[in-house]
């Protein structure tokens, strides 16, 4: 339909107003490269947005890879935790304790792209400082966790780190990894969500958090990596702590 009506000039404001009135401040972002997956993604997007709306403040975004094996969610803690618990088939939560490096990398990439899209060509200075400070705190927390681990091998039920809260749920019947970044104080979300809400989050971000079934880009590692998915799936069905399992897999991959 061509632009024929001057009313279109008011459409952005009016649609935003209507969305705000029903609690949607930002659109759910969930896209991938495969158009055939769009219906399922849309359904998941709708459900995740409902959760964010019902439990949080309606703000959140999610990226899902085409294989449906990995979901990366950015949102407020309340919405994220409910999303974990209410998202059937996606119960293999990556414990923050074990996989924080991937989440930090995801956050860094988001900030980097954010800065670039704003025409600055590099990481936003203010955000960079924020991330640097967060990284320092994270490294300090990691050292403490390592010390704790040496003293006791009993993992914590909930790890609270800085502004990121991650609830290490045990693996459930799901088949997907479910990684999340939640902002408890809103310092991350306030800046990031507005940007996220206006763009399509590609599977590029999902690739930051590796999944065992995804073929590696480096040629030498590819054959051995592809053989690992089956044992991984069996492991996640055990009634053991998911953090230990996922961490072991990550260590194997890194090696």
């Amino acid at each position: 339909m061509p632009i024929t009506s001057p009313d279109y000039d008011f459409l952005p404001d009016d649609t935003h107003h209507a969305l705000a009135a029903i609690g949607y401040r930002h659109r759910p972002v969930i896209r991938g490269a495969d158009p055939a997956m769009e219906p399922q993604r849309e359904e998941m997007s709708r459900r995740i947005q409902q959760l964010f709306t019902e439990r949080g403040d309606g703000r959140g975004a999610m990226a899902l890879d085409d294989s449906h094996r990995l979901a990366v969610v950015v949102g407020q803690s309340a919405g994220l935790l409910d999303a974990y618990e209410n998202f059937p088939g996606h119960g293999d939560v990556i414990p923050y304790r074990e996989d924080h490096a991937h989440l930090m990398e995801l956050a860094r990439r988001l900030f980097r792209d954010w800065g670039q899209e704003r025409g600055e060509g590099e990481i936003d200075e203010e955000s960079g400082r924020m991330m640097q400070a967060a990284q320092e705190r994270e490294e300090a927390a990691q050292r403490m966790r390592e010390e704790e681990k040496n003293e006791s091998k009993e993992p914590a039920k909930t790890t609270v780190y800085s502004s990121i809260k991650f609830n290490p749920l045990t693996p459930q019947r799901g088949r997907s990894l479910f990684a999340g970044i939640g902002s408890k104080k809103g310092t991350l979300s306030g800046r990031l969500f507005h940007w996220l809400g206006q763009r399509t989050m590609s599977e590029t971000y999902a690739e930051i958090i590796p999944f065992p079934t995804k073929p590696e880009t480096t040629a030498p590692a590819a054959p051995s990596q592809e053989e690992k998915p089956a044992p991984k799936k069996e492991k996640t069905e055990k009634k053991t702590d998911g953090g230990e399992e996922a961490g072991e897999e990550k260590k194997k991959k890194a090696a």
């Binding site: 339909m1 061509p2 009313d7 649609t15 209507a18 029903i22 949607y24 709708r46 409902q50």
Partner: protein, 63 residues
């Protein structure tokens, strides 16, 4: 622009459904599912407008 006007821009939406959504919106009684549906319509409108703006820009920009 009223919610009815906005919904009138949504293709393939029945009159009945349009009235139902508009009434629920104005009364503040939309269910969560209806809210999600309405949000999708609004986002789709925004997308369409953006596409049309770019097309118009490309068309008139070359003249």
């Amino acid at each position: 622009m009223t919610i009815q006007t906005l919904l009138a821009l949504v293709p393939d939406l029945s009159e009945e459904r349009r009235a139902q959504l508009a009434a629920g919106y104005e009364a503040g009684t939309l269910s969560t599912e209806d809210k999600a549906q309405l949000a999708e319509y609004m986002f789709a409108l925004m997308d369409r407008m953006e596409v049309e703006k770019q097309e118009a820009k490309a068309l008139f920009g070359k003249q």
